[in-house]
Structures are given as structure tokens and as C-alpha cells.
Amino acid sequence: MRTALVLLLLLALAAVAGSLVPQVGVADARIAATFRDHPLRARIFDQLGLFDVYGSWWFTMIYSLLLVSLVACLVPRARAFVRNLRTRPALARELDAMRHYAELAVTDPPEQALGRARTLLRRRLFRVSRPNGARALAADKGLGREGGSLLFHVAFLVLLVGIVWGRGTGFSGQAVIVEGQTWTETHANYDGTVREGRFFGEDHSGVRVHVDDFRATYRASGQPSDFVTHATLLDAEGRELDRVAIRVNHPAEAEGVKFYQFGYGWAPVIRVEQDGEPIFDGPVVCQQDGSPEGLSQLQIPWNCVVKLPSLQPQVGIRLELWPDRRGLLALLETGEAMPMLVEYAPVMTWEAFEGDLRAELVQSAGVLDTAAMRPLDTGVLGAGETVDLGRGLTISFPDLRQYTVLTVSRDRGLWIVLAAAILILLGLLPALYTSRRKLWVTAEADGAGTLLKVGGFALQRRSQFEDEFSRLVRDLRRVPEERVGS
């Protein structure tokens, strides 16, 4: 027990470290800042795994050792408990030396008095045994304390196993899907990295999500009230499985894969033509990188990039989208930003560059590296308009759509973890609130009646047992009327 507790404490200490040092995947920007401002400290932290406490080898070691030591101490306890369950309570001597003891003379004969005591104790859920021939009973109660405690500890073990197995065989990542598009659940289609567990067998589901539309609603104050993605879920062969509305707190599920509403953004449809021939046509996903101090995300424009690598020299276009034209106008006229809650005559400013896109260096679709480019032209483009870029190129903005960001994950251990958590609670209650009690009754003939001797004790909650004991004695004293003198 010592070892397990020390390990548990170490787990807690590791968690303290993990909550104070920025963690990979939670606070990447702060990690980068640490590397910039305190390179030495950052390198030491990095070597120690402090930026990824929960994925570090020593964290894994602590909880593996905890598992081992839990098993090591639970096996003997479980054995002892089973042995305890199997054996009947044994008789004891010297009842009068027990913590609680009472003698009472009753009017019925010994056999009947003992029978009565037995019924009484059974009715109160004591286990009662009466060895052959003896005029005595042995009884006990409260195996629930040890049973509950065992259940709690075993369930904690199962919980750990469920977590490790579920995470190990599962995956999670993010999908960016524009309205009207279909996304297929495979490794390559995730936005950014997809976390795949240690024992994951590359068995992505191939489930498809067709996003019919996305809708964000706001209160008059600009506070969001609802985000919903209406989607059709299809299996790997393209058969329709379900039509769903995915909301915050209301994920959808198909073939064990769950889809959670995570974020959203704007995706203008852009068409670029060269001498009347379309060379780019489709929605472009726009992003926002953090809002300046004092402004909300809703008050600032969205950035997106169109790259045309097939041209010679290559062309890149940087777009700044204002989904509500009044937002741009307000900023120009009053210098004050206005929240843009709905689509209203959307407008973009654009900046075109020509030169080298350096595609081998810049992988991200949303970043335009202009180091090897020179400006071509700039301008404004409203919805439904077409403008000239120069070099025989035109750009048009026929439509504005939204995209939704879904968290996609599969965790097969979920049910194990939930069941274990419930069992933890169920075990905890008897382990904390019941007590183990032992009781003995002997009967000796006393004239026409019987002298009953009752002794017992409780291992926990002794004072409550005092009450229980005196109530029992009182009830034993009460001989049913018809038996008197018989």
C-alpha cells in the first residue's frame, strides 16, 4: 500500500508540473515563447520532457508501476476476501469480555430462543451460523466495507487500463469541411496532425461526412448562442448512414467515430481565369490568427491565400475577407471595429504577387511567403464581382460559404472508462460508510426459560454499533405472546 500511495503521490506531483509548465498541444505558443526568451531553461525542460509531461517516459513509468503495484496488493486482498466470504462466522469464547455484552433471561426454552435470535439477526442481514450441536450462534455483517473497498480499487485499475487501451487503439484529429463538400475519414485528410495511439492499426474508418450547411447564431449582444453543422454521414461505400445536426455538446457518431463541433470560419468561392480559361475555381478556407487586444474575433477580417503554381512566373494572392461589408466601412469611417455576425454584402481586399512561391519550403496552404515575390497589384473585390489582376488574369468572387471544423475521434475504451468510473463510486460508498460488526449469542437453560448471553463489537463506527446492539438486545427480550409458558 505504501508503494502504491507513493506512486500516486508522484503522479500528482507530475500533474502539478504539467499544470505549471506549458504543454505540447495545449499551449504551443507559450512553449515557443519560452524557447525564444529563455533558451537554456527551455532546452533543460525539453530534455526532461516537461513540455510533454503526460507523454513522457517517466510519466508512463509511474502509471505502469502504479498498475503493477495495485495488482500486487489487490490479489492477496481479493483472495482473503473470498476466503472470508466462504467461511461461516466461527464461535467465540468469553463473550463477557467483548466490548458490548448483555445477559438476558427470556421465558421461552433455549432452542426456541436461539431460533428467534437467528431469525432476528437474519432479518437484519447478518450472516448467521450455528455449528452442529452447540447452543450458540455466531454472526457477522458488513462485508460490504471490504467488498466495496476492493471494488473501488479494482475499478480504479480497470479505469487505468481502459484509458490506456482506449487512447492506444484510437485516434483524434480535426477536419475542416466547407459547406457542400464531403470529407473522408482517412489519415491524409486531417487538418494538421492527427494523434494516433501507440497500438493503432491504421484502421481508419473511411466514414464520409457531407456538410449540408453550417450556422452560427448570436444574441443581440454579439455573444454566440448556437453553432450547428448539418451533415449527412455516409459509410466507406457511400451509403447514407444518418443525417445529423452536430452542435457543441451534441456530437454525432458513425461506426464508432465521433464528430464534435469545434470551430468554424468563412470560405469564399474564388475563380481565377487566364484569358477566359479557368485555372482556379473553388472555396478557399480563410483563417484568423488571434485578435488584437480589446477586439473580438468577430470584429476582425479573415485571411486567405490563393496560390497559382502552374503559372510562369508563379502568382500568389493574399485576400482579406470582410463577411459583413459594414465592418470594413465602419472601420474606415469611424476607426471603430464592428462585430460581423452575419453575411452581408461581403467584400475582400486583395494583394497579388508574382515570383517564386517556394512551395518546397512553405507547405501550409494558408501562408504566402513573399520573400521571393514582388507585388503585382492590389484592389477590392465584392461578392459577385470580377476584377482584373493584370497579366491577362481575372479574379471573381461568386459566392461566400462557411466551413466547419470538427474534432474527429475514436476511443473504444470510453465504455470501459465510464463503467469503471461508476463502479468506483459504487464501491466507494460502502467502503466509506459501512462498518464491520461481529456478534455472538449463547443460550443456557434457566429454569423453564433461557439465559441468553450476547456479545459483540464493531471494527468501525463503534458508537453507532452501541445503538444497534442495544436495539438488538431489546428485541431479543421480546418473546412473542403465544410462546410464553408453552
Partner: protein
């Protein structure tokens, strides 16, 4: 009434509750020192009045915001302090009939409320979608109920340590320092010790200002043993909510991390109580670490450490 009126009613009732507790606290300390029964009665009456006003403040807040008032740190603190005082009246004054620790509990409530208005106040407003979940209500309310019980256990543990130290320093049989705890002898039997609780074997002659350390220890244990499963339940429902909101039931976000740390420390306390040689002072120190961890979970994480939960500040 308009929501504006309700909001004003809520802040007004808050003020009444705050000063009622403050007054009750002073009276309770006066009683601790001079043992005038009328002063004790005044203290309890002020506490009762404070509780009524406090309840009104919580209800008014809910009506003004048009939702259950469990949306931000101010509202959590409002309910937490209410439940600490309520649990104190019911369990310590009512069931255990221990009458000398009220000042400390009210002091805790007064500090909690002062921090709430000074640093955590935000006006009543509706919730963002992620917070709008049935599981979240269950999670937050069980976390607050258990926090109040664990915090009450923590206050009692501090008093236990103070008293235990004093008892150890006294030579056996020395006269009482002051008065003697009132009504300890008629404490109901179910607050007596068991195997997991030390015996109440301190002679009346050695009692000082506070109730005997064994009584404080037992009360603290009861509060923690009551609060611990509720804390466990709160973590589980929080995980269920996190699963539906963010697609993972556990993400080591600072609030989650600290609630886990608190859970582990109190589990350590329960073990210590069951381990011979660890009862009494050593177990109490573990409980104190748990209390500190609870305060970090409750305040520090929201105020200084950022995470997904931080929008609830």
C-alpha cells in the same frame, strides 16, 4: 420585476448576507472568549439571517441571468460560501452540537465572499454554447457541494492542528486555559469515534478554548468522507461533459489536473486514516495539503493558469 431589479436585489441581499456573517463572526469570537450564551444565540441568529439573504442573492442572480446561477467564478463563490455556512449550521452546530468553531467558518465564508465581489464579479449574462449543458450543471453543482464540505473539513483540520498542539504541550492534569467547550458532553452518539477515528479520551480539565482535538478530528473526517465521493462524482460528470463538448473526457487541462491532484491527496488522507501510525496529526497534515490543493483548484487555476476552463472566470 425586471431582470435589472432582480440583479439589484441580488447584490443588495449579498451585502446583507456579508455583513450578517461578519457580525456573526465577531459575536462567535466574543463567545469563544467570554462564553456568554446570549452572544452565542446572537451569532447563530445573525448567521441564519445571513443565510436567508444569501439564498435570496443566489435566486435573484439566477432570475436576472435567466439561467441556473452557476456560470462563472463569482457565482461559484456565491454558492460555495452559502453551502459552507449551511453545512456548518446543519452538521457542526446541529448534529454535533459543537458551538465554538463558528467564528472560523464564518471567517472563511466572509473571505470567500470578499474575494468574490472584489476580484471575480461579473454582471449576470447568458452562457456561451459550450457551457450550456445539462452535464455541466450536474458537474458544477457537485463540485461546489463537495468543495464546501471539503473546505469545512479543512477549516476544522486547521483548528484540530492548533488544538492538538496545545494539548500536547500541556502537562497532564493542568487546569483549563479558558472556560471549556459548551455542550460537548451531550454530543449525539453517532459522532463518537470508531476504529477509523481516535477515541474521545481527553479529560475535560485539559480542554482549552476550542473543542477537544478528538472532536475536531472526527468532525473533519466526517466532512471529508462526505465530500470525497461527491468530488469523485463531480470529476466523473465533468469528464462526461468534457467528452461531449471537446471530444475528450480528459485532457490534462489545468482545472482537470488540479481536481485530480486534490482527489489524490484526499484519497491519501483516507488511507492515512486507515493506516496505524498515521492517524491524528500526520493525517491532518495530509488533509491540510488537500485543502490547499482545493483552493488552488478553485482559485489559482482560473485566475493565473489558463486553460479551456478559463472562460469561466
Amino acid at each position: 420585476m425586471s431582470t435589472q431589479t432582480w440583479a439589484e436585489l441580488s447584490t443588495g441581499a449579498f451585502t446583507v448576507a456579508f455583513f450578517a456573517y461578519l457580525f456573526g463572526m465577531l459575536a462567535a469570537f466574543h463567545f469563544l472568549a467570554f462564553r456568554r450564551k446570549t452572544v452565542w444565540a446572537v451569532s447563530v441568529a445573525a448567521t441564519g439571517l445571513g443565510l436567508a439573504a444569501h439564498l435570496l442573492s443566489i435566486v435573484g442572480r439566477g432570475v436576472a441571468a435567466e439561467r441556473i446561477p452557476l456560470g462563472n467564478m463569482y457565482e461559484y463563490s456565491l454558492l460555495l460560501s452559502f453551502l459552507v455556512v449551511l453545512a456548518y449550521l446543519v452538521f457542526v452546530e446541529g448534529l454535533a452540537r459543537v458551538r465554538t468553531v463558528g467564528g472560523f467558518v464564518l471567517g472563511f465564508a466572509v473571505i470567500t465572499m470578499a474575494v468574490a465581489v472584489l476580484f471575480l464579479y461579473v454582471g449576470p449574462a447568458p452562457l456561451i454554447p459550450a457551457l450550456n449543458s445539462y452535464w455541466r450543471q450536474v458537474h458544477v453543482s457537485s463540485m461546489i457541494v463537495s468543495s464546501s464540505l471539503l473546505a469545512l473539513g479543512g477549516v476544522l483540520t486547521v483548528l484540530y492542528l492548533v488544538k492538538e498542539r496545545r494539548e500536547r504541550r500541556l502537562p497532564p492534569g493542568s487546569p483549563p486555559i479558558m472556560g471549556g467547550a459548551v455542550s460537548l458532553d451531550d454530543a449525539p452518539p453517532h459522532f463518537e469515534g470508531g476504529a477509523d477515528e481516535p477515541p474521545a479520551a481527553v479529560s475535560p480539565a485539559r480542554r482549552g478554548w476550542l473543542p477537544p482535538s478528538s472532536t475536531l478530528d472526527r468532525l473533519a473526517y466526517r466532512m471529508i468522507a462526505f465530500g470525497f465521493p461527491i468530488w469523485t462524482f463531480g470529476i466523473i460528470t465533468g469528464a462526461i461533459w468534457a467528452e461531449s463538448a471537446w471530444g475528450r473526457y480528459w485532457g490534462w487541462d489545468p482545472k482537470e489536473t488540479w481536481s485530480f491532484i486534490t482527489w489524490v491527496v484526499f484519497a491519501g488522507y483516507l488511507h492515512a486514516r486507515a493506516t496505524s501510525g498515521w492517524k491524528g496529526r500526520r493525517a491532518a497534515i495530509v488533509a491540510l495539503v488537500g485543502f490547499a490543493s482545493l483552493l488552488v483548484t478553485y482559485y489559482a487555476v482560473n485566475l493565473w493558469i489558463v486553460g479551456l476552463h478559463s472562460y469561466a472566470t
